[in-house]
Amino acid sequence: MHDKNEAHWVSLMASIAQNQDHKAFAEVFRHFAPRVKAFLMKSGADSSLAEECMQDVMATLWHKSHMYDPTRAAVSTWIFTIARNRKIDLLRRYARPEPETLPWGPEEAPDQADAIVLQQETDRLAEAIRTLPEKQRILIERAYYGDLTHSEIAAETGLPLGTIKSRIRLALDRLRHNMS
């Protein structure tokens, strides 16, 4: 599935943030740009709008690379959030309120061990999603393309809670650790 592992994407992100590394960016772009575009098209954008929006997402990735924290999110997750917000911007014409950022960030060097634990958890989550019954997996995908309302999400996807339980615990441990 992954031809490159998560640690590789994380190191490319660090190269972009620290060295404005065009080669690293080109590699991230080759992998993620076609996926972001596909995601936007599944969400209802036509090909040219999706291309435009995708380029914007990837340019934002460059400019926000210093804000990426590998102990909090996989690279794919982080790119997903940028793409989702841009999609709301463009398709719903609305700058959505986002939660407050937390008081720590990459200026304290991210803890390698924490980043590795998150990478392993991300692989586990990906595997868990892949092995869901097909019908449920497709409904969950549709929810993320914006095909379902929140009440349909509750009624129809069977909320994949078991799948993310350990991910939630991990995130909570880390939040508590940082706030204390």
Binding site: R35, Q55, T77
Partner: protein
């Protein structure tokens, strides 16, 4: 960070992660997540599902000079500053809409010392701030659809227990409850409904900062 007793249901968090909530709820969820570790941990996990879906997408064909065009875009874009946290009672997403903290709110009297301020009102619902004097019952109102109430200051109590700063109550239209503000401090809540409130005298006002983001 305070202890949250009443956190947001998973369907709403997943809807927020997917970008599928009505606008009125987005502000309440963003504000709640700013105050609750539990909600943030669950939101980040629902977003991780989005990341997995993105990773597993069948790829779309991109334009041949897509990378070059993107690099040109990068050159034309302003650098992004790390957002700063704003101190005060209102978390940052709410301060952006209000245009400041509690002292920037233009209240309208509702009688009996209760006050409110409509922040957004439109086809995707209504969001407003509500102030109930300490020790008083909330004014009666009815709503169609769902109502979300997030406590920002003080506390209220109803048959489901005590709701303090950061706690959220989600009620559908069948819920007929009688919340009462706790003594000691005025209770200030952020309230959203996905249908228009049946309330008189509301002058809808869409906060300007909202458009300027």
């Amino acid at each position: 960070m305070n202890t949250i007793r009443h956190s947001i249901p998973d369907d709403l968090l997943m809807g927020y992660a997917a970008g599928a909530l009505p606008q009125a709820f987005d502000l309440v969820v963003a504000t709640h997540v700013s105050l609750s570790d539990d909600a943030r941990a669950r939101l980040e996990s629902f977003e991780a599902i989005g990341g997995t879906i993105l990773e597993n997408m069948d790829t779309a064909e991109i334009e041949q000079d897509s990378l070059e065009q993107t690099l040109a875009r990068i050159g034309a874009m302003d650098p992004v500053e790390k957002p700063k946290r704003s101190g005060g009672i209102f978390p940052t997403p709410l301060q952006r809409i209000v245009g400041g903290d509690l002292d920037s709110v233009t209240w309208k009297g509702l009688g009996m010392g209760a006050k409110h301020c409509v922040l957004q009102s439109g086809t995707e619902g209504t969001v407003r701030l509500l102030l109930i004097p300490a020790g008083q019952a909330m004014p009666k109102h009815s709503h169609r659809g769902m109502e979300m109430t997030l406590v920002l200051q003080g506390a209220f109590r109803d048959e489901d227990g005590l709701y303090a700063r950061g706690d959220i109550e989600v009620a559908d239209e069948d819920v007929d409850h009688a919340p009462v503000a706790e003594a000691g401090e005025d209770c200030i809540c952020l309230v959203a409904t996905d249908a228009k409130l049946r309330f008189n005298g509301i002058l809808p006002r869409i906060a300007q900062p909202f458009l300027g983001i």
